[in-house]
Amino acid sequence: MRRKTVSGLLPCLVLLAVVFAALPALAHHGWAWTEDEPFELTGEIEEIYIGNPHVTLEVRAEGGTWHVDLAPLARTVRAGFDEEAASIGDTVTCIGFRSRDPGERSMKAARVLVNGATYDVYPRRVPNI
Protein backbone atom coordinates (compact mmCIF):
# COMPACT_ATOMS: atom_id res chain seq x y z
CA MET A 1 0.00 0.00 0.00
CA ARG A 2 2.63 2.51 1.04
CA ARG A 3 4.91 1.69 -1.87
CA LYS A 4 2.03 2.29 -4.29
CA THR A 5 1.46 5.77 -2.83
CA VAL A 6 5.09 6.80 -3.09
CA SER A 7 5.37 5.63 -6.70
CA GLY A 8 2.32 7.77 -7.56
CA LEU A 9 3.80 10.85 -5.95
CA LEU A 10 7.12 10.64 -7.75
CA PRO A 11 5.83 11.65 -11.22
CA CYS A 12 4.05 14.62 -9.62
CA LEU A 13 7.28 15.78 -7.99
CA VAL A 14 9.21 15.38 -11.23
CA LEU A 15 6.57 17.44 -13.05
CA LEU A 16 6.81 20.16 -10.38
CA ALA A 17 10.60 20.24 -10.71
CA VAL A 18 10.38 20.62 -14.50
CA VAL A 19 7.82 23.42 -14.21
CA PHE A 20 9.92 25.36 -11.70
CA ALA A 21 13.06 24.86 -13.78
CA ALA A 22 11.24 26.41 -16.77
CA LEU A 23 10.07 29.47 -14.81
CA PRO A 24 13.11 31.77 -15.15
CA ALA A 25 13.04 31.48 -18.95
CA LEU A 26 9.49 32.80 -19.07
CA ALA A 27 9.79 35.39 -16.36
CA HIS A 28 8.42 38.86 -16.88
CA HIS A 29 9.50 39.45 -13.33
CA GLY A 30 13.11 40.52 -13.06
CA TRP A 31 15.27 40.99 -16.14
CA ALA A 32 15.59 37.44 -17.48
CA TRP A 33 12.99 38.10 -20.20
CA THR A 34 14.77 41.15 -21.60
CA GLU A 35 17.68 41.45 -24.00
CA ASP A 36 21.13 42.31 -22.66
CA GLU A 37 21.65 45.16 -25.16
CA PRO A 38 20.20 48.54 -24.13
CA PHE A 39 17.07 49.72 -25.89
CA GLU A 40 15.60 53.20 -26.34
CA LEU A 41 12.01 53.99 -27.21
CA THR A 42 10.54 57.42 -27.98
CA GLY A 43 6.86 58.00 -28.54
CA GLU A 44 3.63 59.47 -27.33
CA ILE A 45 2.06 58.33 -24.06
CA GLU A 46 -1.30 56.67 -24.64
CA GLU A 47 -1.91 55.31 -21.16
CA ILE A 48 -0.37 55.75 -17.72
CA TYR A 49 -0.93 53.36 -14.83
CA ILE A 50 0.45 54.56 -11.50
CA GLY A 51 -0.32 51.84 -8.98
CA ASN A 52 0.54 48.45 -7.55
CA PRO A 53 2.10 46.12 -8.37
CA HIS A 54 4.04 47.98 -11.14
CA VAL A 55 3.80 51.32 -12.86
CA THR A 56 3.26 50.87 -16.62
CA LEU A 57 3.01 53.04 -19.73
CA GLU A 58 1.54 52.41 -23.15
CA VAL A 59 3.65 54.33 -25.66
CA ARG A 60 2.67 54.91 -29.29
CA ALA A 61 5.76 54.78 -31.50
CA GLU A 62 6.59 53.92 -35.09
CA GLY A 63 5.35 50.42 -35.79
CA GLY A 64 2.78 50.28 -33.00
CA THR A 65 2.05 50.69 -29.33
CA TRP A 66 4.61 49.51 -26.79
CA HIS A 67 3.99 48.22 -23.30
CA VAL A 68 6.58 49.69 -20.92
CA ASP A 69 7.09 48.32 -17.40
CA LEU A 70 8.59 50.73 -14.89
CA ALA A 71 9.41 49.71 -11.31
CA PRO A 72 7.01 48.74 -8.52
CA LEU A 73 4.83 51.65 -7.32
CA ALA A 74 6.86 52.66 -4.23
CA ARG A 75 10.16 52.59 -6.10
CA THR A 76 8.82 54.52 -9.10
CA VAL A 77 7.26 57.24 -6.95
CA ARG A 78 10.45 57.47 -4.86
CA ALA A 79 12.31 58.14 -8.12
CA GLY A 80 9.98 61.12 -8.59
CA PHE A 81 7.67 59.69 -11.25
CA ASP A 82 4.14 60.25 -9.98
CA GLU A 83 0.77 61.54 -11.29
CA GLU A 84 2.27 65.01 -11.86
CA ALA A 85 5.22 63.77 -13.93
CA ALA A 86 3.48 63.02 -17.22
CA SER A 87 0.15 63.20 -19.01
CA ILE A 88 -1.44 61.34 -21.88
CA GLY A 89 -0.14 62.80 -25.15
CA ASP A 90 3.27 63.77 -23.76
CA THR A 91 6.38 62.69 -25.65
CA VAL A 92 8.41 60.24 -23.60
CA THR A 93 11.76 58.49 -24.00
CA CYS A 94 12.22 55.19 -22.20
CA ILE A 95 15.72 53.74 -21.81
CA GLY A 96 16.06 50.17 -20.69
CA PHE A 97 15.84 46.69 -22.16
CA ARG A 98 13.33 45.21 -24.58
CA SER A 99 11.76 41.76 -24.62
CA ARG A 100 13.87 38.99 -26.18
CA ASP A 101 10.78 38.05 -28.18
CA PRO A 102 11.13 40.15 -31.38
CA GLY A 103 7.38 39.96 -32.03
CA GLU A 104 6.52 41.42 -28.63
CA ARG A 105 6.45 45.22 -28.32
CA SER A 106 7.31 45.21 -24.64
CA MET A 107 10.18 46.65 -22.61
CA LYS A 108 11.31 47.36 -19.08
CA ALA A 109 12.57 50.89 -18.47
CA ALA A 110 15.40 51.85 -16.13
CA ARG A 111 15.20 55.57 -17.04
CA VAL A 112 12.26 57.68 -18.23
CA LEU A 113 12.66 61.14 -19.79
CA VAL A 114 9.56 63.27 -20.07
CA ASN A 115 8.79 67.03 -19.99
CA GLY A 116 12.48 67.87 -19.53
CA ALA A 117 12.89 65.69 -16.42
CA THR A 118 14.79 62.43 -15.95
CA TYR A 119 13.47 59.68 -13.70
CA ASP A 120 15.80 56.79 -12.86
CA VAL A 121 13.49 54.07 -11.57
CA TYR A 122 16.31 51.49 -11.64
CA PRO A 123 19.44 53.71 -11.24
CA ARG A 124 21.86 50.76 -11.28
CA ARG A 125 20.31 49.39 -14.47
CA VAL A 126 20.61 52.59 -16.51
CA PRO A 127 22.85 51.67 -19.48
CA ASN A 128 25.82 53.88 -20.39
CA ILE A 129 24.68 55.20 -23.74
Binding site: R2, T5, G8, C12, L16, L26, A27, H29, G51, P53
Partner: protein
Protein backbone atom coordinates in the same frame (compact mmCIF):
# COMPACT_ATOMS: atom_id res chain seq x y z
CA UNK B 1 -22.04 43.36 -18.72
CA UNK B 2 -18.90 41.68 -17.35
CA UNK B 3 -16.77 44.58 -18.60
CA UNK B 4 -19.02 47.06 -16.82
CA UNK B 5 -18.79 45.09 -13.60
CA UNK B 6 -14.97 44.93 -13.88
CA UNK B 7 -14.87 48.67 -14.59
CA UNK B 8 -17.04 49.37 -11.53
CA UNK B 9 -14.83 47.11 -9.41
CA UNK B 10 -11.76 49.03 -10.58
CA UNK B 11 -13.38 52.29 -9.44
CA UNK B 12 -14.36 50.84 -6.06
CA UNK B 13 -12.88 52.93 -3.21
CA UNK B 14 -11.20 49.94 -1.56
CA UNK B 15 -9.51 49.00 -4.87
CA UNK B 16 -8.34 52.60 -5.33
CA UNK B 17 -6.90 52.57 -1.81
CA UNK B 18 -4.86 49.37 -2.34
CA UNK B 19 -3.77 50.49 -5.82
CA UNK B 20 -2.06 53.60 -4.52
CA UNK B 21 -0.86 52.39 -1.09
CA UNK B 22 2.80 51.76 -0.22
CA UNK B 23 2.18 49.55 2.83
CA UNK B 24 -1.34 48.11 2.61
CA UNK B 25 -0.76 46.37 -0.75
CA UNK B 26 2.39 44.46 0.28
CA UNK B 27 0.63 43.50 3.55
CA UNK B 28 -2.41 42.31 1.60
CA UNK B 29 -0.07 40.32 -0.64
CA UNK B 30 1.61 38.77 2.43
CA UNK B 31 -1.80 37.86 3.89
CA UNK B 32 -2.69 36.12 0.61
CA UNK B 33 0.54 34.09 0.81
CA UNK B 34 -0.21 33.30 4.48
CA UNK B 35 -3.64 31.96 3.53
CA UNK B 36 -2.12 29.78 0.76
CA UNK B 37 0.39 28.40 3.28
CA UNK B 38 -2.49 27.60 5.64
CA UNK B 39 -4.58 25.99 2.87
CA UNK B 40 -1.85 23.88 1.28
CA UNK B 41 -0.04 23.25 4.57
CA UNK B 42 -3.21 21.63 5.92
CA UNK B 43 -4.73 19.96 2.86
CA UNK B 44 -1.43 18.29 1.87
CA UNK B 45 -1.01 16.30 5.12
CA UNK B 46 -4.75 15.45 5.05
CA UNK B 47 -4.47 14.09 1.50
CA UNK B 48 -1.30 12.16 2.35
CA UNK B 49 -2.98 10.70 5.46
CA UNK B 50 -5.86 9.48 3.27
CA UNK B 51 -3.27 7.92 0.95
CA UNK B 52 -1.87 5.92 3.84
CA UNK B 53 1.10 8.01 5.01
CA UNK B 54 1.54 8.88 8.73
CA UNK B 55 -0.54 5.80 9.52
CA UNK B 56 0.55 6.06 13.17
CA UNK B 57 -1.70 9.13 13.62
CA UNK B 58 -5.43 8.36 14.12
CA UNK B 59 -7.15 9.40 10.87
CA UNK B 60 -10.46 10.74 12.23
CA UNK B 61 -9.30 13.64 14.46
CA UNK B 62 -6.38 14.44 12.14
CA UNK B 63 -8.57 14.76 9.04
CA UNK B 64 -11.15 16.87 10.93
CA UNK B 65 -8.50 19.32 12.17
CA UNK B 66 -6.62 19.57 8.86
CA UNK B 67 -9.72 20.10 6.72
CA UNK B 68 -10.94 22.84 9.11
CA UNK B 69 -7.61 24.65 8.86
CA UNK B 70 -7.62 24.23 5.08
CA UNK B 71 -11.16 25.63 4.85
CA UNK B 72 -10.10 28.68 6.90
CA UNK B 73 -7.12 29.12 4.54
CA UNK B 74 -9.38 28.89 1.48
CA UNK B 75 -11.83 31.51 2.81
CA UNK B 76 -8.99 33.91 3.64
CA UNK B 77 -7.35 33.24 0.25
CA UNK B 78 -10.58 34.06 -1.59
CA UNK B 79 -11.08 37.29 0.39
CA UNK B 80 -7.50 38.54 -0.06
CA UNK B 81 -7.45 37.26 -3.65
CA UNK B 82 -10.58 39.25 -4.48
CA UNK B 83 -9.00 42.44 -3.09
CA UNK B 84 -5.76 41.83 -5.05
CA UNK B 85 -7.84 41.22 -8.19
CA UNK B 86 -9.78 44.48 -7.67
CA UNK B 87 -6.56 46.52 -7.99
CA UNK B 88 -6.27 45.69 -11.74
CA UNK B 89 -9.42 43.69 -12.64
CA UNK B 90 -9.28 44.26 -16.41
CA UNK B 91 -5.61 43.22 -16.49
CA UNK B 92 -6.13 39.98 -14.54
CA UNK B 93 -9.40 39.06 -16.29
CA UNK B 94 -7.39 38.82 -19.53
CA UNK B 95 -4.53 36.82 -18.00
CA UNK B 96 -4.70 33.10 -19.01
CA UNK B 97 -2.77 32.02 -15.89
CA UNK B 98 -5.29 33.85 -13.69
CA UNK B 99 -8.26 32.22 -15.45
CA UNK B 100 -6.59 28.80 -15.15
CA UNK B 101 -5.91 29.42 -11.46
CA UNK B 102 -9.51 30.41 -10.71
CA UNK B 103 -10.82 27.32 -12.56
CA UNK B 104 -8.43 25.03 -10.65
CA UNK B 105 -9.45 26.58 -7.31
CA UNK B 106 -13.13 26.03 -8.20
CA UNK B 107 -12.39 22.39 -9.09
CA UNK B 108 -10.35 21.92 -5.91
CA UNK B 109 -13.15 23.35 -3.77
CA UNK B 110 -15.76 21.22 -5.58
CA UNK B 111 -13.62 18.11 -5.08
CA UNK B 112 -13.27 18.94 -1.37
CA UNK B 113 -17.06 19.36 -1.08
CA UNK B 114 -17.68 16.02 -2.84
CA UNK B 115 -15.22 14.31 -0.49
CA UNK B 116 -16.86 15.85 2.58
CA UNK B 117 -20.34 14.74 1.52
CA UNK B 118 -19.28 11.20 0.53
CA UNK B 119 -20.13 8.11 2.61
CA UNK B 120 -16.40 7.32 2.52
CA UNK B 121 -15.63 10.51 4.45
CA UNK B 122 -18.23 9.72 7.12
CA UNK B 123 -16.70 6.27 7.51
CA UNK B 124 -13.19 7.72 7.77
CA UNK B 125 -14.31 10.36 10.28
CA UNK B 126 -16.06 7.73 12.40
CA UNK B 127 -13.74 4.74 12.22
CA UNK B 128 -10.57 6.01 10.56
CA UNK B 129 -10.87 3.54 7.67
CA UNK B 130 -10.09 5.19 4.30
CA UNK B 131 -11.96 3.82 1.26
CA UNK B 132 -10.44 3.59 -2.26
CA UNK B 133 -12.80 6.31 -3.58
CA UNK B 134 -11.60 8.65 -0.81
CA UNK B 135 -8.04 7.90 -1.86
CA UNK B 136 -8.87 8.85 -5.43
CA UNK B 137 -10.29 12.13 -4.12
CA UNK B 138 -7.08 12.72 -2.17
CA UNK B 139 -4.90 12.25 -5.28
CA UNK B 140 -7.16 14.63 -7.22
CA UNK B 141 -6.99 17.13 -4.36
CA UNK B 142 -3.17 17.07 -4.29
CA UNK B 143 -2.95 17.61 -8.05
CA UNK B 144 -5.58 20.38 -8.17
CA UNK B 145 -4.19 22.49 -5.30
CA UNK B 146 -0.59 22.21 -6.45
CA UNK B 147 -1.62 23.05 -10.03
CA UNK B 148 -3.62 26.04 -8.69
CA UNK B 149 -0.52 27.22 -6.79
CA UNK B 150 1.65 27.03 -9.92
CA UNK B 151 -0.96 28.73 -12.14
CA UNK B 152 -1.36 31.45 -9.50
CA UNK B 153 2.34 32.18 -9.36
CA UNK B 154 2.40 32.24 -13.18
CA UNK B 155 0.07 35.27 -13.30
CA UNK B 156 3.02 37.61 -12.73
CA UNK B 157 5.05 36.04 -15.55
CA UNK B 158 2.72 36.52 -18.52
Amino acid sequence: MLMEWLQALQEWQVATFFRRSFYAYPLLNATHIFSLALLIGAILPADLRMLGLFSGIPAAPFLKLMTRLAAAGLVLAILTGFLLFSVQPLEYAGNPAFLTKVSLVALGAANAAVIRLSPGWRAAAASGVVSPSLRFGAVLSLMLWLAALIAGRWIAFL
